[in-house]
Symmetry: D2
Subunit: 470 residues, 4 copies
Amino acid sequence: MLAELKGMNEECGIFGVWGHPKAAQITYYGLHSLQHRGQEGTGIVVTDGLEIKTKKGEGLVSEIFTTDAIKELTGTGAIGHVRYATAGGGGYENVQPLLFRSQSGSLALAHNGNLVNAEGLKHQLEAQGSIFQTSSDTEVLAHLIRRGGYPLLKDRVKNALSMLKGAYAFLIMTETELMVALDPNGMRPLSLGKMGDAYMVASETCAFDVVGAEFVRDILPGELLIINDEGIKSEIYSFNSTTAMCTMEYIYFSRPDSNINGINVHTARKILGKRLAAEVPIEADVVTGVPDSSISAAIGYAEASGIPYELGLIKNRYVGRTFIQPSQSLREQGVKMKLSPVRGVVEGKRVIMVDDSIVRGTTSRRIVTMLKEAGATEVHVVISSPPIKNPCFYGIDTSTKEELIASDKSVEEIRELIGADSLTFLSVEGVLEAIGRDIDGETRGQCLACFTGKYPTEIYPQELETSAKC
Amino acid sequence: MLAELKGMNEECGIFGVWGHPKAAQITYYGLHSLQHRGQEGTGIVVTDGLEIKTKKGEGLVSEIFTTDAIKELTGTGAIGHVRYATAGGGGYENVQPLLFRSQSGSLALAHNGNLVNAEGLKHQLEAQGSIFQTSSDTEVLAHLIRRGGYPLLKDRVKNALSMLKGAYAFLIMTETELMVALDPNGMRPLSLGKMGDAYMVASETCAFDVVGAEFVRDILPGELLIINDEGIKSEIYSFNSTTAMCTMEYIYFSRPDSNINGINVHTARKILGKRLAAEVPIEADVVTGVPDSSISAAIGYAEASGIPYELGLIKNRYVGRTFIQPSQSLREQGVKMKLSPVRGVVEGKRVIMVDDSIVRGTTSRRIVTMLKEAGATEVHVVISSPPIKNPCFYGIDTSTKEELIASDKSVEEIRELIGADSLTFLSVEGVLEAIGRDIDGETRGQCLACFTGKYPTEIYPQELETSAKC
Amino acid sequence: MLAELKGMNEECGIFGVWGHPKAAQITYYGLHSLQHRGQEGTGIVVTDGLEIKTKKGEGLVSEIFTTDAIKELTGTGAIGHVRYATAGGGGYENVQPLLFRSQSGSLALAHNGNLVNAEGLKHQLEAQGSIFQTSSDTEVLAHLIRRGGYPLLKDRVKNALSMLKGAYAFLIMTETELMVALDPNGMRPLSLGKMGDAYMVASETCAFDVVGAEFVRDILPGELLIINDEGIKSEIYSFNSTTAMCTMEYIYFSRPDSNINGINVHTARKILGKRLAAEVPIEADVVTGVPDSSISAAIGYAEASGIPYELGLIKNRYVGRTFIQPSQSLREQGVKMKLSPVRGVVEGKRVIMVDDSIVRGTTSRRIVTMLKEAGATEVHVVISSPPIKNPCFYGIDTSTKEELIASDKSVEEIRELIGADSLTFLSVEGVLEAIGRDIDGETRGQCLACFTGKYPTEIYPQELETSAKC
Amino acid sequence: MLAELKGMNEECGIFGVWGHPKAAQITYYGLHSLQHRGQEGTGIVVTDGLEIKTKKGEGLVSEIFTTDAIKELTGTGAIGHVRYATAGGGGYENVQPLLFRSQSGSLALAHNGNLVNAEGLKHQLEAQGSIFQTSSDTEVLAHLIRRGGYPLLKDRVKNALSMLKGAYAFLIMTETELMVALDPNGMRPLSLGKMGDAYMVASETCAFDVVGAEFVRDILPGELLIINDEGIKSEIYSFNSTTAMCTMEYIYFSRPDSNINGINVHTARKILGKRLAAEVPIEADVVTGVPDSSISAAIGYAEASGIPYELGLIKNRYVGRTFIQPSQSLREQGVKMKLSPVRGVVEGKRVIMVDDSIVRGTTSRRIVTMLKEAGATEVHVVISSPPIKNPCFYGIDTSTKEELIASDKSVEEIRELIGADSLTFLSVEGVLEAIGRDIDGETRGQCLACFTGKYPTEIYPQELETSAKC
């Protein structure tokens, strides 16, 4: 259970459409299906071929866009964004898509990922007189595009992209064109869909299912798609592409009904759970998963082990932004917030608790304690990923090594700290076997940097500092 | 999947506490855990022994109660209510608890259930000059209590209760006392908890787990509890009690982590699923459940049948009150709202789809179509309850027989209508075996009226009309 | 300057219309013109002959009624209310019109005034089993009407009105009829207007000007008007009528563009100012008025005295409910809230400051200090009413004698307390000459109780306590 | 009555403070007193010497700043802005102060006025790669400052200012400094105040009275003030200064309690009214003014002519943003919005109606009609300014010559069009005598361009287009 409980933030989600008479409405439903990727803010930019209109705000898709607001966003092309909650770079300005108007036309940008050389580029641009309005990485691309000397926008974009390092999936829209770019490692998921004559792009394929579009193919690492009223064109702007898809997309981020690089996420998680059961058999009475992201793995574990799956933990669905956190004294009296144990299921039982990952360990300790207080006689924690030992610089908010419990503690030390009767992590090989792709006779195609420390791109020292990522 | 998709409304939830310095806060968390029982409105009434304060509104618990609002509700006794969405009797006035102030003191009421003779009583009271401010059943009790001739409140309450017919769980609070009443058939769940010196009452035991209280016992049919600063007293005011707990509480309404009459709801649902697998074995590739209420039954079915459980359907968590419904034209293009099929799981598969019930059949047809469009080669619908053939007069909004597809259609006719390859309902015996209690050598204790037509109370003709129930 | 600065509350305002296809819209604009009579809450009840709909809320007319809300209030008859801010009896329940639904039809009530025997009547009704939902006087009338034995509503209303004592202007609406009643002393203003075939009733004639209706006549003391689709009928239900119109309506409450009993309010105030100049000539350089209510009197004083009128005090127009009050420390540093002195006008000048009344004296002291700090060499306070020595029981919130500075202090003592160089009150004779009517050779027709202690009705001891008045 | 009724927009207001422990609170009250200069949006930027925080939004000061929001704006230096409602350049981005963050520190800007060469400068800057985030003139200054080559901020600011043409009053704040600049013609009012050790700057002196500060002096044309923790310094950056204060500030914009260049606005308006009476004596029964801005002139006219001043027109105070405009059909039935005639005052009378200006003439026609319908036998329109024949390029929204009725129509033609019995404008000499300053033996110091067509600066053709001015 990475999400709120662990401080490991979710990523952003992007959605674009070209050639549909209700582009804003389609984008609304598309973004809605990507809401799990970010709840802090959302925006839509729409074009009718002549004029660009926009609406954005801090909150959920269903909160920001009223019926009236959507109606005013008339046009046949649109891009939209959902943004994750983050401490440093919040605020209305940072809500995407960013829109840059000038006397020669508008430029709208939506971004998922994180640039590792953004600070350096920003420094250079500011020294040349550029004024940044946001603390977002994304704005760097706009300045690079505006300054680039080529007469064609397409070439200015390619030139600008070539200066960026890191993980990114970009949607770029002008009054007359939609461009789609993925970084040379393809670290963030991005797919192309189609619905009648309209093209769509989305961070996850679940968006196509929700709007009724059909999946065409995944965007390639280092590819630039140019979609306009004349059709769709593809150019490869980077010839050093090596696929390194973020493994946490499978393990935690993506919706279980999405497919990433052809693999269904729920199915991948079930295989991770089965593989765990095979790697470390445990004697127990029930298997339970931490909702929502670990349910699939838990069911996989149950199927493979023959130990029945039970609902040992329940999540309260109605915890929104306005929920009042219990005071310290009430928490001490036992008031629960989002997660509660199911006494009727765990009392007197040896429980296998499946979770997707451990970041700081505090949440795991809390859940173990909860289960024991509810009467579990043993709690065996089983994690469907390897220990996270290294920070991510590509968009996942595991800022510093210090915060990662596995960076300097052994499995046994962590087990003791979280109070579990046993603790099992999945092996890196287990992950690769479950979701890796065979490329040139070798299993690879995944970014495993947070487990192994081998980063697929260069890393710049200043990147360790905070900027508003996505 | 009864809830939103089927128009069969959820019930209300009630929570009370006596003797806790932060009574309003505790009630807030208690109501929050009962939010699944009603999202239309909510209120809390609190007493500090001298004065009664209240706050209520239309919306979710976390929307209505801000930190400041809760802080102002100082007191050691409180009752609260969550109310379901209903067409006829909405509006601020009908949000509970109802509060009646008079020169001789205040009376606050919170109610879960439905009275079958409310209209008749109201008619008599209005003829005598009573003015009703709400269209709620609950107000009838207040007028009966105020008019009753006994000097002691307790006796006026018992006299008033004796005139009521139907299903009810009442919390009644004055400046100095909390009373708790359950109808003589115990048709609605209501339990007693304890936390230090404070007593608590809740519609479901999950509320005790969430606030850290311990379960004491279920309230008895025909029991009146009187809790005040001198302690707790129990009186049985009806000696014709026969337990007839609403069976749908197990099948659909209650939270899986609650226990009703000692049986865990998740466990009961798994047994229903296992029993289904035993009654009708089906050859298929995957089992899937309609989220959220049918997941437990689906897992039970999978365990018993050996067919793997998969996530074939996914629910969008972020559909709130402000969500924009897709227009007809967008729906026809395939835009989904709350539920979408997982193509990666069902494509090319024979699917067993487990749901909790069928009311009108329209939702089932929609889901079957969705699964087939996503590539399922066969869809076998398996229902963890018997056919609902008769309306409920006790608080569940299955208004008229005409709306119930099973009232005049055979299983085969329904199967054809929903487009399934096969359709299986659980037998009444199967239900009773799974959750019934053995009383005097006979399996009973459940209300099965919606399946069998045998109502545990008299029914009055005017009750077929609408009033604001709870 | 009575209003906010003095804690003497404003009254309520009522508006009704019958026979207009856009009854709710007309009522919206009518209420809007009466907004100065109450800003706490507002509501409209509308009938289309068959069904009654309503919308009310706490706030200004323009805040509560959105375009959509007004559109839903379809009908040809409507009554509306604006309610003043009051400490004791706030809350949504007390916002008027009150609406009482029953199986035999609905009854909507809007009230301006205060009943002096409400508590006694309430006590009797509660003893007979009535339940009151509000702390408002107005509800008493509803219960009396419902209990009255006559078959015709008209007769039940007349019977109920005959039991009431005090000041009241009532609008009573059912699905098919609008009734209008004024107390036997005609203490509150209430007038009849006409616009095409539609009749209108309003607390002040300014409402007719704003909606484009023409004034017909004032409602008579003790009159009951019955307006329905067959036309308009008048019945006098009380034959002991003696006109005693609230004098403060002229001096402070009403809008200057309204006429009360045929006298324009602005003109009356100018005459009060002129009369003051005649009673007590003062040597000074400039005359200024406390905005808004004292401007007319100040201009009258200036005209009669020949001393130029100047803008010595200015009111900030943008102080709404959400305005942040300056902290104590900022107030001590001199931060002003609603009123500021105009240094360029008063510096080095002898200033005559005209105000409408003095209640507690704290505001007068504040303004005198302000003017002196801004450089006025002398400040002569001139009040366009006699000293208020007695509480009002008829709707004006000068609760107790203790709060009235003039109840136990001489003019000289008050002058010293407020720090003025001189203090002049208008004489009672001066008031009567300016606005009194000659009845039977004697100047009367006004309620002067707050000045003279002669109340036009009986007063009951329990009335000294608080209830929600209007 | 220029304001809402005439489409001639109000200007913006700015306020700054340095060296006060509650800088944001003081700014809140200062902005509040300047609210009449702009109601569209407002913002405050605050510095504590190290860090800059900001809060802005679309709405009134009292709507945007809650108690909590103000509390979070801790710091000792602050600048704030209120912005007028405008069609073209609305939106959150354009709400000021604008804040530009960079790695070398922040720059906050608040602006009142309009640059006549903004579009040209913007074009040059964009050609060099600058990206503009707003459609506001103000941002041009930020880009010029960032690009300027001088090492000291002060010199970069002076260099940037020297490139600007037009009317401007700027507040510029960094983490450690507040700079204040006025254009070389001093076309917009801007004054310096003091309160203990804290310095304050405001568009109008009324702000000093409201916060309890004392007036020090007006900012000089072409002056740059630099205020920081070491004190205050003044530099004159332009030596071609000729004072040309906007005359409409006296006639219409400013609050009557403000002083501009030493002249009280209310007093100036009274003199304009007196001068009018002297220029054109009219026989009539009553004098009335169009509220609020023409009341002072009307009282002056009444004093000089001996004709009594009466309240012939009244303004509804409660017309806010959410007020529902009457439909065409209701307007035709006579529903009034903001202004209504006082029948009791004008019926049967010859009325002199004093207004401050005529722009398009539609409002004047409306008011004349209103007064005649209310029974006035004659309506003589008397305007306290000369005819407005030329557009303003310095911040007042009288966009094009076509919209100005006096640009191509004679006084007699206008009179006929508005339906008045006579129409009198004040002469330019009359204006200058009333408010002009004697400079070098010649009466001047005012910008009279809208009356005379003599603009105090160059005008650039592209400036005729719309940009977001302030």
